[in-house]
């Protein structure tokens, strides 16, 4: 498989824009690999060759980088990359049970995709939302405070084509390819959706306000 002339042209335009952001072209490699995933759903052979060509690298150099990072999929991934955090804190708070029940429910294991191509399951390391444990991520959007039931419902809804919203994120969950395009540095216009902060993120501020606690005033400041 090679890219059709239209796809190739679009890829080249985007690639040139990405490369233009950096003082040295090779810095564009990570975003270029995200760009490839936004078209192919994984880092395809063609995609890696394309990156090599755009940056004047050997394909081996590109493959060497692509294989280092876990977000680059080596084989076609599902429309929804469903991750369950199994690092210590989330695991203890219920992530292990969520993973076991979800994996059995869906019938695939770590880094495996359902036959309908909808769902790839992944055991995730810490995703920096520990105060919302147990945490799941779908296409790198937050699904906070999960239970085995909510996790199975979530995946059933995704497979049934129902609209699903992250707990802290845009109104509509985007696909893996759409997410990859944002990661390549092409915003999708959804930054304004969703809350500024929610739940535990606001706990300290709420307590401070309830008690009238503030940082000291600067000397000579009005208020």
């Amino acid at each position: 498989m090679t890219y059709s002339p239209e796809v190739r042209e679009r890829l080249e335009t985007d690639a040139k824009e990405i490369i233009g952001r950096y003082p040295k072209p090779r810095s564009a490699l990570l975003p270029l690999l995200h760009l490839v995933q936004s078209v192919d759903g994984y880092v395809s052979d063609d995609g890696q060759e394309f990156c090599a060509e755009m940056l004047g690298l050997s394909k081996a150099e590109v493959v060497g980088v692509a294989t280092f990072y876990t977000m680059y999929k080596r084989k076609p991934a599902g429309e929804y990359n469903v991750g369950v955090c199994i690092n210590t804190l989330c695991a203890v708070m219920g992530g292990d049970q969520i993973w076991e029940e979800l994996s059995e429910h869906v019938g695939v294991g770590h880094d495996e995709t359902t036959e309908d191509g909808k769902i790839t399951l992944e055991r995730l390391e810490c995703n920096a939302a520990c105060d919302f444990a147990p945490v799941m991520m779908v296409n790198w959007e937050f699904f906070d405070n999960q239970t085995p039931e909510s996790a199975k419902q979530l995946v059933d809804d995704l497979r049934a084509g129902k609209e699903v919203a992250p707990t802290r994120g845009p109104r509509r969950l985007c696909t893996f390819k759409e997410a990859s395009r944002v990661l390549a540095g092409f915003p999708d216009g959804q930054a304004g959706e969703g809350p500024s902060a929610a739940g535990p993120s606001l706990e300290g501020l709420k307590i401070a306000k309830a008690n009238g606690w503030e940082a000291p005033k600067a000397e000579g400041s009005e208020k």
């Binding site: 876990t70 444990a133 944002v182 500024s196």
Partner: protein
Amino acid sequence: MTTLTPVLTRNWDRADSFTIDGYGEYAAAKKALGMDPDAVIQTVKDSGLRGRGGAGFPTGMKWGFIPQGDGKPHYLVVNADESEPGTCKDIPLMMANPHALVEGVIIASYAIRANHAFIYIRGEVLHVIRRVQAAVREAYERGYLGSNIFGSGYDLELVVHSGAGAYICGEETALLDSLEGHRGQPRLKPPFPAVAGLYACPTVINNVESIASVPSIVANGADWFAGMGTEKSKGFGIFSLSGHVTRPGQYEAPLGITLRELLDMAGGIREGHQLKFWTPGGSSTPIFTAEHLDVPLDFESVGAKGSMLGTRALQIFDETTCVVRAVLRWTEFYAHESCGKCTPCREGTFWLKQVLKRLEKGQGSEEDLATITDIADNILGRSFCALGDGATSPIHSSVKLFRDEYLKHFEIGGCPFDPAASTVWGSK
């Protein structure tokens, strides 16, 4: 009693906190660009701000290491690769208040005479990346980034760069390699990034929270910042409480607050349970127990008690939690994330994982405790970067504090704990 001091978190309950309207007009950046760059560095030095990414290196001193008049481009790189288990402060900060970071980038870049800056964000947080991208775009539209900012003649380009899933890229030199388009593996130091960093040019790498704290220091003065915290650990920081606590979350307080004080605010350990062990600053910091509830959470006091303040990631575990299971899982993490560059870490974390798996299943022996301690001794101080050192913290501290619990596993031929009891729903 220590009280909370919301500065970075102050506007998070505004629906528009992530926009310029919800943040403000970058008055601190405007003020800084009217100052001599060296005076900006001096202000940050005087404030006593120390790196909020874990190591606690004085920020102003780091900026002062950048050689001036050397004819080379200088770079500022923000380390937004927050991935240390338990650490969850920079992610909500960038989601709710990305302009504090962007304004800090302008001030820091100006101070070190950089015309190009990068924010390297871990890739697994899509909505956070959207928010930072949007904040940068807004700043460009207002003329706060780009050419001739505030008419000062100063130019700055700021690029938001997404990582691709590698904990090691939080190590500053691995981050630089990654940003240059390579596998993220740490570099030999010296030379330090201040001399040969990004593209072999002088580079400052700072954590998100460090940079986001800078506008408040410039606006309110070094004395204001230094008036909070302790003698050597000045200012405020975000403390992240997670785990078996009634109200987990982000608590912004002066350094030196204690876990007892924070737990009082957070409603204590979840009802009907007691504190068993906790990390003061993420999984790479040796664990503490209830004995350490009154240790002031500042760099010196936590260090004096044998751990590290790290990123103030307070992961709290109650008596239902098996410490061997917790340590095994952290160890699996380090083995997974080891970049493979140096032998002690690559092989050592892998071996630790194997032995701990056996121990957790109750198939180990007392000799295994000597083995994991010995392996950890051979990683600590001998690995290429801090990842390997970090991997030994849970091993050494847990064997020291909970030796009996390890022994219990092979006495009864299995884990004495019911994992269901420690889940969120298990306690109900």
